[in-house]
Amino acid sequence: MATALGLLLTGGLGSQIQNQPDDAQWVMPAKNFASTRFSTLSEINTANVKNLALKWSFSTGLDKGHEAAPLVVNNTMYIVTPWPNTLFALDLTRPGPAVKWTYQPNPSRSAKGVACCDVVNRGAAYFNGRVFYNTLDMNTVAVDAVTGKEVWKTSLGTIRQGESMTMAPLVVKGKVIVGNSGGEMGVRGWLAGLDAETGKISWRAYTAGPDTDVLIGPNFKPFYPMDQGKDLGLKSWPPDMWRIGGGSAWSWISYDPELDLIYYGTANASPWNADQRPGDNKWSSTLFARRPETGEAIWAYQLNPHDDHDYDGVNENILLDLNINGRLRKVLAHPDRNARMYIMDRATGEVLSAETYAHQNTSEGVDLKTGRLKTVPSKSTGFKTVRDICPAAPGGKDWQPSSYSPRTGLIYLPHNKLCKEFEGRQANYIAGTPYLGATVRMYAGPGNYRGQVSAWDPVKAKTVWSINERFPAWSGTVVTAGDVLFYGTMDGWFKAVDARTGTQLWQFKTASGVISQPVTYRGPDGKQYVAVVDGVGGWSGAIVSGGLNPKDGTGALGFVNAMSDLPRYSPKGGTLYVFALP
């Protein structure tokens, strides 16, 4: 309460976490530690955005799914490509920006065989003159931002165990924080902190196993009794199943400097066939708050105990200070795969609300007393066939990050509208191969469209407006102080929308579908630019990037069935487009 009063007294809307200073660059994929993806630039606004024009473009020369956000630092743009994970540095000071240098980490070709959902990379992070990112074959690299020379390269695991790395690191207090991917391959998930100077691994926090491996110590204070107890990461699994239990940390990390906590979610439990792993399967599908320097867990909240539907808990956590029920609360907003928007007290891990933001029939709500998700028994999976499960495995929303505008107070969610049918069978574990035990087919949810972009009011916990999209809205969103919201679609439209009303103001047809994260920055000439990379692929676009055969709908873990018409709307691609006012 004292903090809240303090904030009010200092008139401090400016001191709220969502109002961070903006240097008009783009140094990390989420824009800032609070992960708002909000830019204070306002040259492009709702009135003039209709004049937006293409200024220049750049081809990565690749045609797999491009999910990364470009970085803009010191008038240089950095782009990480999907495998082979080339890093391009483009000099923005010259007209028709030229390549300053490229860095090739030469990841193993075999690594492509363990990437569950196309050979994507979600971006790099800039800190102290270096660019940090992960390669598909389990290395984190630090590259000198000026010269393009490799400073260090640290191996964090082996693809032989099915591990890969696709997430964008976050650099906090001199630690490069990274996690692995591979929840579909039966990996043992972890998050690690590397020394930004040397690349040495300072800590590694496993998702499952004994408390010592999870870095749970005396300061661990989960809010709900269901998450309290000793060695739950061991006791909530059948003997030894936690060793191959998934729970990778393959997506976003946020950081609150005041509480000195990082926030991230862990992935689904392995295998998909939930009957093979009775128990809560902690700490899969869980939100963790940890200390960035030591990795020590401070609190945890399991979003989907005994996950039945591949509902990873990895989606972004937007840190906000919001006035909820008359109190200024430090919250995090987490739109989960289970189609619920969790508003949680980020100091304690208490759930304040968890309302539905997308069509779903798998849960009835969250019991705010026990914190436990109330699941619908008829939709639970296992050694059986279950039909009409909504949302499907990619969830109400997958990794594609949402944005928040402090001007409108709304969260802009790109999300999916997919359902699935599920047949469980015996999963078999062979190191380095898929560990699933399920045959899945996805299809469009009610209304016959497969995606939506919605504006969500986190205080009232309801949707303000939404736009239907033909395909899952698989790109991130970005919102600016000009009240313009940018996002791209899988059928290749890059759109500008009025952030208050949802009215479409402008659109541009890209060569391939967009599944990446748009950014906006001030160029050396003082003008505001908007940049986005196209290149359809990822899990949703695998039918195009992998050339999959739609005759068998179970392809790409069932996604092919829902996307059989995508090839008609989007070819492969990989081009950066940069727009500005004329």
Binding site: K112, A431, G432, L436, G547, T554, G555
Partner: protein, 174 residues
């Protein structure tokens, strides 16, 4: 005896003779088909395709013993799930791996080529299964993959898979 009766009788006898043909099921693999096709490495993991360890020359000899054998195809289907092939290739559509129902094959769809692909792996992520899987099982997998593409006799190929059939409740796409 009328000639018509004779004709009918001959026809019936032919039909009966046909019905007598039973597929030969040779459960026991010949010893020659039991060898491993790539060296195994100490860790017990599958060997990625482009490692120096995997430099053995092709072991293919004698052709596919399960060509046109329904039991071989059915065993191949069982192994396709058991060895997690379906995790990457689904039931032919592909996913993490390329589709297996297609017209254009990078490395060839001939039994010997498929055998080599499975046994020795391919550089973009296909592991070298020959380090673990016995030769006769690789042939069963080869036969199943070919049957997906209609390259095995219809009489030996199952008409539908053992798995989840498309629901009638699914909504058609726009």
């Amino acid at each position: 005896m009328s000639s018509r009766f004779l004709r009918v009788a001959t026809f019936a006898a032919c039909l009966l003779a046909l019905a007598c043909k039973r597929e030969e099921r040779d459960f026991r693999p010949q010893p020659a088909r039991l060898s491993l096709t790539a060296p195994s490495e100490a860790q017990g993991d599958l060997v990625p395709a482009n490692t120096p360890a995997n430099t053995v020359t092709s072991p293919v000899r004698g052709g596919n013993p399960y060509e046109g054998v329904a039991w071989g195809i059915s065993e191949g289907q069982f192994l396709f799930d058991s060895y997690n092939c379906s995790g990457c290739h689904a039931r032919g559509a592909g996913g993490m791996g390329p589709p297996l129902i297609k017209d254009k094959w990078i490395y060839g769809v001939e039994p010997e080529k498929l055998f080599e692909t499975i046994a020795k792996g391919r550089p973009d992520g296909m592991p070298a299964w020959g380090s673990k899987v016995p030769e006769y099982q690789i042939w069963q997998l080869v036969t199943y993959v070919r049957s997906m593409n209609g390259l095995e006799p219809k009489s030996a190929t199952p008409v539908r898979s053992d798995h989840l059939q498309q629901s009638l409740r699914e909504r058609p796409l726009q």
